[in-house]
């Protein structure tokens, strides 16, 4: 008997577009792998192997719902990464070379997926956080890979406070990326300038009665 229609995997007609989608939709995963292996070619190999394996699973019907492909891709890619790290014990000794990753910054693919905006959004998000302690929490959790318990203990924070900070930070970071181009602050500035110019225009009209009222408009938008 055939499975119900909704359980039939969507046919994979264009594997290349699926691979393109991997680079487009999961740049975070790609950045992680690159940071861990520190070699753009090795990182690309790992991601491509993972994408191929995932597509094979989709073709064979192992992935019943195509919308779950991302999860499989993550699982396979991270397993490939772990295997790679287990095999490769001859890395380079250097000062946190992970922070540098020179030679990958000019990759046009990164531009297309918006990676250059991640640092700017993270900077804005940190600047908007009023408490230094909350900023430290984020850096220690996301950047230094420290455990929640340890951070809460050392910064004398409750778990609820920790959850709140992480929740707000993630939401704000997402918002900033979604609204990249013009930021909230920029829009407020534009509105303020508009109001000032509007008032100046009105004053001019009062002085030059009989002329056509000035029509000022400031255009802004969210890309």
């Amino acid at each position: 008997m055939l499975p119900p229609k909704s359980d039939v995997p969507a046919p994979v007609t264009d594997p290349v577009s699926h691979l393109t989608a991997v680079y487009r939709d999961y740049p975070g995963l790609r950045a992680l792998i690159l940071r861990r292996v520190r070699d753009p070619e090795v990182a690309a190999d790992i991601l491509q192997d993972a994408a191929v394996t995932t597509l094979e699973k989709l073709r064979s019907g192992e992935i019943a719902h195509p919308e779950n492909m991302g999860g499989y891709l993550y699982r396979v890619a991270l397993n490939h990464l772990r295997n790679h790290r287990r095999k490769d014990r001859t890395g380079v000794s250097s000062a946190d070379a992970l922070n540098e990753l020179r030679g990958t910054e000019d990759d046009p693919e990164w531009e297309r997926v918006g990676r250059p905006q991640w640092a700017e959004a993270a900077r804005r998000m940190l600047e908007e956080m009023p408490a230094e302690r909350d900023r430290e929490l984020l850096v220690r959790f996301y950047l230094n890979d420290e455990e929640k318990e340890q951070i809460c203990q050392e910064l004398k924070l409750s778990r609820e406070h920790f959850n709140r900070v992480i929740f707000r930070a993630r939401n704000r970071f997402r918002e900033l990326l979604e609204h990249r181009g013009f930021w909230k602050g920029d829009l407020l500035t534009l509105v303020a300038i508009g109001l000032i110019l509007g008032q100046a225009g009105q004053a001019m009209d009062t002085r030059n009665s009989g002329t056509t009222p000035a029509s000022l408009s400031i255009q802004g938008g969210v890309r």
């Binding site: 999961y26 740049p27 975070g28 950045a31 992680l32 940071r35 992935i63 779950n68 991302g70 999860g71 993550y74 699982r75 772990r82 790290r85 014990r89 001859t90 890395g91 380079v92 000794s93 250097s94 000062a95 946190d96 070379a97 992970l98 922070n99 540098e100 990676r115 991640w118 640092a119 959004a121 993270a122 900077r123 940190l126 230094e132 900023r135 430290e136 850096v139 220690r140 959790f141 996301y142 950047l143 230094n144 890979d145 455990e147 929640k148 340890q150 050392e154 910064l155 778990r159 609820e160 920790f162 959850n163 709140r164 992480i166 929740f167 930070a169 993630r170 970071f173 997402r174 990326l177």
Partner: protein, 228 residues
Amino acid sequence: MIDAGRDSERMQDYMVGRLSDDEHRAFEDRLVRDPGLVRKLEQSLRLTEGLHQLRAQGHFDKATSRARGSRIWLPILAAAAITGLALFLWLQPRNSPLLTASLESRTADVAPWVAAHFTFVAVRASSTPDLELPSGGVIEFRAAPATHLTASRYRMTLVQQDEAGSLKPVGAAAGLALSADGYVHGYADAARLGPGRYVLRIEPDAETPATAETFPFNLRAHGARPTR
């Protein structure tokens, strides 16, 4: 919000390999069933990468300087009190060991700032890396012991080499466990180290003497040209 916090914690533990085998499997099962979780994970990785880029740009050094500068307006008495406290905190670490097993064991109330991570893995080539000495904060040393040194606990020793070539241990931490990331971790105050030649030694922490693995490196002052 609580769920979001738990999810974040679980995601981070998954990424750095802190989950048990069962937890790891359970998380992966969720990952392949829940596209929402994948989106959150992807978002977290972008945030993490953004922070990494900021660190590479020196943002956190600048932020620390700004934080210091913004206190100038405080009244003189408060400044004096802060100076006194700063002096107290400055003096404190001098009585504590230079190299410690964890950040926790460094100071009681003030959380130290990890200013640099130095990672050491055995390599075939024998070049000595030039590492930049941060002006403050804590340096995290991560060393991957060679497989033949497999032990339950390790000892990490930081040795300084003077111009004449003689070696002087400047700090040691014992009873170190191998972390889930495959490294043994040690922490040292950057302010208590000077530029020069060093060797990080890692060996099994056992009664019986065993071969130590050594990682030579140079520390150079911020802005100084590499010695190569």
